[in-house]
Symmetry: C2
Subunit: 140 residues, 2 copies
DNA sequence: ACAGTAAACGCAAATTTGTTGCGTTTATAT
DNA sequence: ATATAAACGCAACAAATTTGCGTTTACTGT
């Protein structure tokens, strides 16, 4: 199934409307290897793209119904990635390159789970960021 | 030793000037159980406090010489805590309460260290945020 | 197919958080 | 005491995101 059709399916399942704009956003996220910011998404939209605000609102709606997760890596940009696990909890750590700023989901890396790291402190969500240098930026 | 005297010591050791403003900022951080934002610090300053910009610049200077570490927990606020370990790397995870927004350093909790989670991806710094509900906010 | 309705949209303006420029004050080494 | 670089205050700026509001559009139920 191509990503446009799959995007429709995702939106329908989430109970959101299948507008051309939202379908395209989901499809862009589907095709991306890493979480994207509003600006990156807007840049990939077809010529007569969407308003910034519309993209922000769509992403917020996606977050609310749990089809994306949101990461903040220290550069004060929200980035969004489709969330296979279907919850807002981050099931994997994220790698952030200090050179190019790209964020990568380390889906293969398992994390220890903390439920109550200190008496009375109940954990609902867990995020780990590994910051460093990615293979492309490490090139000599 | 009271926190004002200790603050002077910290600043001297870091090679920074002991101005009344910076001494007070360090002393506020010393007395705090958790990382503080510029706004929280400014609120705790004595009546004729400091300009926002001055606080930001002081915190930036502290970060540069490594006497504080900075956390960003997803609400787009920088928070700063004195750093016993003397490095900018975060040696412990942080707990973030979804109700009151307060951030706590989990100094007792050990984390597994990743050096190369994926071939070619070199980790320099590692941050873990545990988000949930703190004992005070969990009260019925 | 068609009308009604809530969701989605676009545009303008506002908000929030942090930064820069620049002239003045002050801690500290000499 | 004095020179000087660090620290400061004020005003203006900047980037990312949010809010308000009127218009358009996808979908539900005839």
């Amino acid at each position: 199934m191509n990503s446009l059709n799959y995007a429709v399916k995702i939106l329908k399942k989430a109970g959101l409307r299948c507008t051309p704009g939202r379908i395209e956003i989901v499809s862009i996220l589907l095709d991306s290897e890493h979480p994207l910011s509003q600006e990156e998404i807007t840049a990939e939209l077809s010529r007569n793209g969407l308003d910034r605000v519309t993209v922000y609102r769509a992403l917020e709606a996606f977050l609310k119904v749990g089809i994306v997760h949101r990461v903040e890596t220290g550069d004060r940009l929200w980035r969004y990635a489709l969330c296979a696990c279907g919850s807002r909890k981050h099931c994997h750590p994220h790698f952030v390159c200090r050179e190019c700023g790209r964020v990568e989901c380390l889906t293969g890396v398992k994390l220890p789970t903390f439920t109550e790291p200190k008496p009375g402190y109940k954990v609902e969500e867990q995020e780990t960021y590994l910051k460093g240098i990615c293979p492309e930026c490490a090139e000599p």
